[in-house]
Symmetry: C3
Amino acid sequence: MAGGGCSCCVQLYGFLFEYDTPRIVLIKSRKVGLMNRLVQLCILAYVIGWVFVWEKGYQEFDSVVSSVTTKVKGIAVTNTSDLGVRIWDVADYIIPAQAENAFFVITNLILTQNQTQSRCPELPDKKTICKSNDDCKKDFAGTHSNGIQTGNCVPYNRDVSTCEVYTWCPVENDTFLPEPAVLKDAENFTVLVKNNIWYPKFGFTKRNILPNITADYLKNCQYSRTADPFCPIFRLGQVVKDSQQDFQEMAIQGGVMAIQINWDCDLDRRAANCVPKYTFRRLDNRESDHNVSPGYNFRFAKYYKDASGQESRTLIKAYGIRFDVLVFGTAGKFDIIPTMINIGSGLALFGVATVLCDIIVLYFMKKKNYYREKKYKYVDDYELGSSESYGTGS
Amino acid sequence: MAGGGCSCCVQLYGFLFEYDTPRIVLIKSRKVGLMNRLVQLCILAYVIGWVFVWEKGYQEFDSVVSSVTTKVKGIAVTNTSDLGVRIWDVADYIIPAQAENAFFVITNLILTQNQTQSRCPELPDKKTICKSNDDCKKDFAGTHSNGIQTGNCVPYNRDVSTCEVYTWCPVENDTFLPEPAVLKDAENFTVLVKNNIWYPKFGFTKRNILPNITADYLKNCQYSRTADPFCPIFRLGQVVKDSQQDFQEMAIQGGVMAIQINWDCDLDRRAANCVPKYTFRRLDNRESDHNVSPGYNFRFAKYYKDASGQESRTLIKAYGIRFDVLVFGTAGKFDIIPTMINIGSGLALFGVATVLCDIIVLYFMKKKNYYREKKYKYVDDYELGSSESYGTGS
Amino acid sequence: MAGGGCSCCVQLYGFLFEYDTPRIVLIKSRKVGLMNRLVQLCILAYVIGWVFVWEKGYQEFDSVVSSVTTKVKGIAVTNTSDLGVRIWDVADYIIPAQAENAFFVITNLILTQNQTQSRCPELPDKKTICKSNDDCKKDFAGTHSNGIQTGNCVPYNRDVSTCEVYTWCPVENDTFLPEPAVLKDAENFTVLVKNNIWYPKFGFTKRNILPNITADYLKNCQYSRTADPFCPIFRLGQVVKDSQQDFQEMAIQGGVMAIQINWDCDLDRRAANCVPKYTFRRLDNRESDHNVSPGYNFRFAKYYKDASGQESRTLIKAYGIRFDVLVFGTAGKFDIIPTMINIGSGLALFGVATVLCDIIVLYFMKKKNYYREKKYKYVDDYELGSSESYGTGS
């Protein structure tokens, strides 16, 4: 029957020209047949419905690569005892002038003008109040010191004396924070957020200024969750309000806000359907029970030189709101690999239907012994004198 | 034959010491046998070829963690009516002095010198031109205002009068942008980009200054896509040119460029094969049809104090190019988990070969009834008087 | 036997009400039975143990979205010939005043005071030393030039003459770097790192200031790998030391450090178990063999105006350590999709047990021919005169 004379060739001949397929018992039973199809239907519904339709198992995914630029507009008027009436514009209240994915708006501040490197009394607190020079240690500087102690005890005001320090004098007094916030007008500032995204795997780019947005619309629009969900201009007060916070309260001690841009896209559909979704969230904690180190502030200085070359500075402790623009998202597009993997997995699950029905048929049905006898052929290891011969099949 | 006396033990004995394997029909047919092997070969080729070789299904993947520092070099000469001849060095044109993954180079600017907090006429436009004080509203400040209106109407120049505002005076006039760009020499600036990457899952780190780059080479090299693809020093003009843009045109209004560093690595191969790949792309939009809010610019100020303590500032509206260094990439390394998952999926797909051949054999071949009779054993639910008895097998 | 009269209905009837299950040979053999169960046990152990317990195959994963703010504390005293005794506070040594995920601390610097736009001799090097005006080229500016040559050769000091340039004069001389570093006290500065993370898929947020941290603890604690692993206040010297570097050596030329925060979380467990893990790493290279362009520095300037309106600046070449806060991590939570996919894959692997045992039984056992005869039914394509008839089954 076979080809070559060698045993290897016989095997290869068999391997190539023989086809093996499992032998099947076909049980004509309405109950079991229907049950089997029902279980298969469930698995099919799961594989197609959930994996493919809901979770888009036929797609490959990619994470977003993003670039953000921001531009704040607005002016604020302040009237403080230090500075008198003063107008603040964008060059005054945005520090630093530009950042990558964030911008910081000063809302409150403590100014210490005309500081020079010299000697002056420390701010009074437990460790710095002194009675005599013996209480002060020359060249000492603690973690919270403003400078290096000279070893002298000098009067801070009429009531208390404190250790003298060498540092930028006079030292900053940040005991009392202006309330309401100095730049409370910041609530009405607006910011234009330009965001360019890229999905490198799919070579897909898009801007948050959508193609149908005109220059005219952009001059006058303002983001609103319902009315103008695609306008990229945000009123700062609205951003804070949309995250269930109070701007004026937040303005006093500062804080960190997130402007989240979600770019989840299904690239099998039209590119025009891929649009940004804006949400807002407060990032620093305001829970009263463990409110350690609240708000957000930092110090910076402006340096001046007088005619004699003597340097002085204005120290600014700036409280304000940092807006982090967090861009995230996933794009999916049809790809053959995940499709095949999910189909393979789904086919394997189909086997479960047979296993389940077998258990029911062979263990729980009345005629289980009858079915078992049809499905199984018992072969005893020890029974060697078999009545069956090769070739006849059986 | 079995062990214990209890029914449970019999079952356990059967479970442990019986081996069940499907019964197979071996059909000796050249046609069907070859077809079956062909389908199996295709699936094997797909699983090995595509999933394992092409998509590296045997690897686990990790995303890059990156740190970037940049250093720009170059000087520019400008000659403007405001400033006369002036040399600009890196401390003048890089704002801020350093950023994390980006750097900004001023290419064009509008200077407004000696601004002080005082009163002056607004820039003339539709809303600010006035005939008399009645046209101006005291304490009013619109979105595009430069300050707070005092309520007076004052002459802006010989021809027009505008509402007077209290603000930093004189107000900036950004109607006309210098053309060509003031710092057009920026085209020849160079930037050294240092990039350190890390794949945390694999504990793999690498720098873009490759081990074989010498200090001498680094002093003189300049990136070129073909000649020096690993030199980390880029001429700004070349970066813009490589992304099909015109530097001098871009310099006028500013823009945002991406220097993309791709670190896709196969860590099963030698680490020396893991090298950065640089590409360049313009991130802001220049399409003429919806060219809203083009370019990139921001304002900052330098603050001065005169002898009397009066503060003044120089306001700079800086147009320029922000270069974002976008680092991305995926590293893969052999891992047992995805390998087994893909093998499991591949095996499940093997079952498809049998299903496919069965369909052909049982439905489309001439001798289909003959094969069907060999494969299937029909058992009728209602036929209870079976001629077969237990144990004989069949 | 069947329902309707049409052939289609017969097929549908058959499809719905017939149940097919493979016919099985049950071989009663201790050896093969045990082996089969052992292989199945291994696969089960692998699927459950490794995929589900170790790799958490039943979970869906998400990457972290993070926001970082930092606050440095500490003062430094310097005593240089240029500046005399001088106190440096946070507004002096942190440049820029705030960044998103990083902060830069000046540790060493080269000051060039009172620079004005004027003419002065270049720094002497190979290209700038001259004998006469003929050696200098008017309007020339090389890559490393400080300005534009005027064409004159002027004495730099008693010994050498160099080409005169028009630039900010006098030019900076960065040949000798102060050693030890000017702000060597920076080792004792501390930084409070506030980090807010978010897993968008699971709506899970957490701060690195854990709920059980009190304000009192936060005032006095300092991070230590063993004693205080959750204190978010780091001594800069300790950060550098923990990454096996020497702070004083690093302070001279500067460098880049990473403060890595790992937020790997199992969200099926209690949220309190999700805590940050801090590690530290040096990002710039210090290998002596290819130490090109070492350390980290940049230039910035402070601008002044004298009474006559003449602008001057102080140029600062700042060497220092940039601390990048790199936040990464993955959170996992139970999800039905990956669970089913892994179960499907595991089931497919179960088929391997049967294949393996079949190979052993049919090819390597003594009674292989006996088993083969039981498992297979040979059907010859050419043998048409079959002794079997339809319907009887076999």
